[in-house]
Amino acid sequence: MWKLLKIELYKIFSRPRTFISFGAVALLVGIIQFGLKLDGNTYIDFMLRDVSVSLDIEGKVLNGYLICYIILQLLLVHVPLLITIISGDLISGEANMGTLRLLLTKPVSRTEVILAKFGAATIYTLILLVWMAILALFLSLVIFGNGDMLNLKAEYIVQLKSTDVFWRYLAAFGFAAIAMVTVAAIGFFLSIFAENSIGPIVTTMSIIIAFTILSTLDIPVFNVIKPFLFTTHMIGWKGFFDVKVTTDNVAIIGSVQNLDRILIAAGVLILHIIGLLIASIAVFKRKDILS
């Protein structure tokens, strides 16, 4: 199994297109950091325009922690598309090249093949997230410095002490990993049905785009279906950046508001992963491999 996993990882990382994702993430993060370094204060002034009517905000609002949050907010919607490029190709790509039948002639079960391929997709996803964390968090801290973080939510602002932020990012990246593996699982599942990788990649992207739009649209008629969309739960990482308050409205350091909802969201995503993996094994075991 371990050997099979290593072979699958070798296959993924020997393709030049795998590194497109890493390059794209580096480029996008770099562009956002460059833009905010040059003109970040205009962005902050816009976001804080309501607050600055009543309050003077002193200190370094635009620091590495806030930059990382802005980057994640923008990129975690698009990174799934980069993950799909690999996960949607894992089975269908082999079918397209005609190597799938050859692979299954080896003395390994179909379940092992699926688990190895899915394991490789998961490792690729995690490495991409670590790469993103290095650029978005650590590089931003180097460029913009450290400090308290202001989380600008729709109806209120959360001020997090600088010493209370890093662990939240670790938790958020952990949650993002679950969310991204869910995306990988969808692409992987769809790739079983196709003999060409374009189909599952485009289908997964379409699902993500459509569901994301439905999840973010603040129209009452869509509110009923939102809890059933995995994209609604994918942004649960943001929950780690909200805190509980005391009766006199003082934020409790180290607390997380609605932790139960975050855990439920993570649970829903994990169920998606398990369900899709089981479905993938079930479908693949019964699949008539003709290519």
Partner: protein, 236 residues
């Protein structure tokens, strides 16, 4: 007849002078009182204070944090929070009393006495004489025997009304409070959910609190270093 009229005029004048003179005397008294308070405040030419700040604004969740406050005459004031970001009431830059009495461009009017926390205080209204002043009216509640401002309410053109309540202790001899509670009006805060892409937790617990438009900043001072000099660079 003429003589009688002259007598009546004299009586009328005497009555009116008698009626006005206590007001004039009181105005003079409170001006002296305000000057005495100011003189007491001016004993402190600079200070560095440490304390703990709590912010209670409906749309802000902020932790209590340690602050360092720098003051230098006539009106330099800087509040630094450990970790960096501090949210202070607009226009209330100077969460201190000195700023209210920095110049002499005001007219003091006696508004009688009042009870504040069970203690008798003199109420003095300060009207700015300059037409361009942002401050429209300041009401001071002065503890006369100790020459301490216990409470101040300031109405401004731009930033509404804010109130300061002071509690004194160890540093009362310098007119420096141990605790300042600053109350001010806030406006609405809202960002489109399309921008923030919120994680919907269905939490409505803050909805009621959001309607509270009064903000509060509380600073509990723990120490003062008085008149030891502060470089101007601290205020940059």
């Amino acid at each position: 007849m003429k003589k009688m009229m002259r007598q009546w005029l004299c009586v009328g004048l005497l009555v009116s002078v008698a009626g006005i003179s206590p007001v004039a005397a009181n105005a003079q008294d409170v001006t002296v009182l305000v000057q005495k308070v100011k003189a007491k405040l001016e004993k402190v030419s600079n200070y560095v204070a440490e304390g703990k700040m709590k912010t209670d604004v409906a749309f802000i969740k902020a932790p209590a944090g340690k602050v360092k406050i720098y003051y230098k005459q006539p009106n330099k004031f800087k509040l630094k929070r450990d970790g960096g970001i501090s949210l202070l009431p607009k226009g209330g830059v100077s969460v201190n009393m000195n700023s209210l009495l920095t110049d002499n461009n005001y007219m003091a009017i006696d508004a009688g006495e009042a009870l504040l926390d069970g203690k008798k205080v003199r109420v003095v209204k300060l009207l700015p004489t300059s037409e361009n002043s942002d401050v429209v009216l300041t009401t001071l509640y002065i503890d006369e025997p100790n020459l301490l401002i216990k409470k101040a309410s300031t109405t401004t053109r731009e930033n509404g009304t804010f109130e300061m309540a002071m509690e004194y202790g160890k540093f009362a001899s310098y007119a420096l409070p141990d605790k300042v509670i600053f109350a001010f009006n806030t406006k609405d805060y809202k960002l489109p959910k399309g921008i923030t892409m919120e994680f919907d937790t269905g939490d409505k617990s803050k909805d009621g609190k959001m309607k509270n438009k009064k903000g509060r900043v509380e600073i509990q001072y723990t120490s003062y270093v008085i008149n030891k000099g502060i470089p101007d660079s601290e205020f940059l």
